[in-house]
């Protein structure tokens, strides 16, 4: 059932697809150079300029124009730092430059979650086991049901609500989720390891909190303290909603598949590529939009080549798409509003239990992106608020 859309491919065809993608990757790796280095240095300089400007403006946070400009700049700075810099540098996309300052082993991001733990759960677990039920903890983040193949639990009834809460506090969601409390409960993670991770989170998070909510507000003076702290809160929250929307659109929209654990047994390189492509979805938009999503708008390309420089995803996307077309594979993409709409609908739909055969029928229908179910087929559930822009 899992590789439904790829079932028409023979083993030889899957191998040939893998070889084509390997060649594409080799081509990118061989051509990395000064142009790419300039790109990441430019993003770093822009991000730091935005942040310094924001903090400068927010010294005058009690004046509304300074507050608005400062909060906007700080939101953009945090988004750029987490998405185009932090996420991608920690993937090792820039390690080839041999610059110890821009290296996956040394980068610490502007985020409550310490890089070290995040790299393990994200780079290793999520990127290896992408969309495999029971293995990829990012599939619904262990609190949401986003596939008919996941077991239903009464708590899922509330998931349209707590999804919005997760979006608002996404940074903390990621940080606490990284502690893997669910694994402590089922005994696969020791209490000591949990405690060590919790301490690491506390050490990192308290510095982040002190900076955003005490130190900078204090510098804005007694009259500007609250306004400045509010600016930090708004900037962090804007970043949270944005990151949540982009990331959820990467793996949860209609047309994206999930896989059973058996899929991993003896999986070939070609099959791995197919799973990564079928388990990911892109977002369409302009160059600035791509940069602000950390190029996760090219989630498909990112998932097949997690460690090539992010500025290259947009360049290889037409070729990956062409390959998919030639092999008759879905290449899920669309504008953010549309994609996020399908994610929210999915979260609402799977909040409800359904009988097994219905589940199977629906799952079958929704796997074909061309035959996306029309609204009338979607169960009557309150429509969650749309946020994307």
């Amino acid at each position: 059932m899992a590789t439904l859309t790829a079932d028409h491919l023979t083993d030889e065809q899957v191998d040939a697809l893998g070889a084509e993608l390997d060649a594409l990757r080799a081509e990118v790796v061989a051509s990395r150079g000064e142009r790419d280095a300039r790109y990441i240095h430019k993003v770093i300089a822009t991000q730091r300029a935005l942040e310094v400007t924001a903090r400068g403006l927010l010294l005058f946070a009690k004046f509304p124009p300074a507050w608005i400009a400062g909060t906007t700049a700080l939101s953009l700075a945090k988004i750029l730092e987490n998405m185009e810099l932090g996420h991608n540098i920690m993937h090792g996309q820039w390690d080839w430059m041999r610059d110890p300052k821009i290296h996956s082993t040394t980068w610490e991001w502007d985020h409550a979650c310490a890089s070290e733990g995040w790299k393990k759960s994200h780079n290793f677990e999520h990127h290896t086991y992408t969309n495999v039920l029971g293995k990829d903890r990012d599939l619904g983040y262990s609190i949401m049901r986003i596939s008919a193949d996941q077991e239903w639990h009464p708590a899922h009834l509330l998931q349209p609500v707590y999804n919005q809460l997760l979006a608002a506090f996404f940074e903390w969601g990621v940080a606490f989720y990284d502690l893997e409390f669910d694994l402590v409960k089922d005994g696969t993670k020791s209490k000591e390891a949990f405690k060590a991770d919790a301490m690491r989170l506390w050490r990192k998070a308290r510095r982040q909190l002190a900076k955003d909510f005490i130190l900078y507000p204090a510098m804005s003076g007694p009259k500007g303290f609250l306004a400045s702290a509010a600016a930090s809160l708004v900037a962090n929250t804007v970043r949270n909603f944005w990151a949540h929307a982009v990331i959820f659109c990467g793996h949860f929209p209609e047309g994206v598949e999930t896989f059973p654990e058996e899929q991993l047994e003896g999986e070939t390189r070609g099959q791995w590529y197919v799973r990564q492509m079928m388990g990911s979805a892109n977002l369409s938009g302009g160059p600035l939009f791509h940069t602000m999503t950390g190029n996760l708008s090219h989630q498909i390309e990112h998932h097949i080549f997690p460690d090539i420089p992010s500025n290259r995803y947009v360049e290889i996307a037409p070729r990956v798409r062409e390959i998919c077309k030639r092999y008759g594979l879905n290449y899920t993409t669309g504008p953010l509003t549309k994609q996020y709409g399908t994610v929210l609908r999915k979260i609402s739909r799977y909040a409800l239990p359904r009988r097994a055969e219905q589940r199977a029928a629906l799952a079958h229908r929704t796997r074909s992106i061309a035959a996306l179910p029309v609204r009338s087929e979607i169960p009557e559930t309150p429509q969650p608020v749309r946020l994307a822009g």
Partner: protein, 351 residues
Amino acid sequence: MAARARDVAHLLTTPLLPDDLLGTVNPVWSTTEPAGRVVARRPETADTTTLLLRTGPRRPRHRPGQYVGVGTRLDGVWHWRTYSVTSRPDDRLLAVTVTALPGGTVSGVLAHGTPVGTVLRLGPPAGEFVLPEPVSEKLLFVTAGSGVTPVMGMLRHLAATRPEVLAGAVAVHCDRTEADVVFAAELRALAAATGLRLVERHTARDGRITPDALADLVPDWAGRQAWACGPAGLLDDLADWWDRHGDRDALHVERFVAPVPTAAAGTGGRVRFTESRIEADAAPGEPLMRAGEAAGAILPNGCRMGICHTCVGRLRSGAVTNLHTGERHDTPGEPVRTCVSSAAGDVEIEL
């Protein structure tokens, strides 16, 4: 107080260092990644150029004769090489003299393709090829080709601080032809001004110098402290000569090649890179970096010879052996250069 201010500044820029922001504005201001900007280029010969660098205010003071690691970004990638410092410790600008090696991409670019304004990264000064303090009275310098560069640093320093020492000193310098001699005019002027005895030998005409030819040229060689720098063949011959006919401790040599690990090589062991999540078996004497790379880890690296400190990772557990000194390091948290450290049993490195 200063430490308190630093803590607050660090908290303001967390998770970055204040230094990272300074370095973004002007790389030369960075103290964690020291750099210099090329402000002038002095062509010395057809293949040799001196680069004059303006560095940050906290440039560590070098001793004449020492070298520095020089990092240059070529097509996006940092490459490190080492070059002798030819300026004096008190000079405002740092001078490094680079000879383009045949087929050497990095040295070629540094010597011929590094315009004024280029930012180069700099490692800390290093090397034991230095004059003693106080300086000995009777000195002999034997150099060949670009081997003159560390000695030039010494001669300039002595000419400025202890010119009388040079009056009794001898410098024997060999190069292929007169046109190939680096610093030729300055060496001659320095000899004329201080009384230094300068012997220039052009090997295209006179052939390579041998130790007995040197002994004929400088009959009192055995009574002098000697500093020699040049091709490995010459240095081997000289070391052999001093061993047999003189006092080996009186001869100081500088080799322009990666030091060969001679010390205790470590026992080898399992090395785990905690950040990369890669484990590898490191053979006795095998640098941790090479073991990790063989297992597929992409580790920070630069000069790969223990100079630039790009490859440093913290030791989490276990012990390593420094391949240059044979010293054992086993303090958790200690920074370890993975390119010149081997495993002494199982070891974990935070990279």
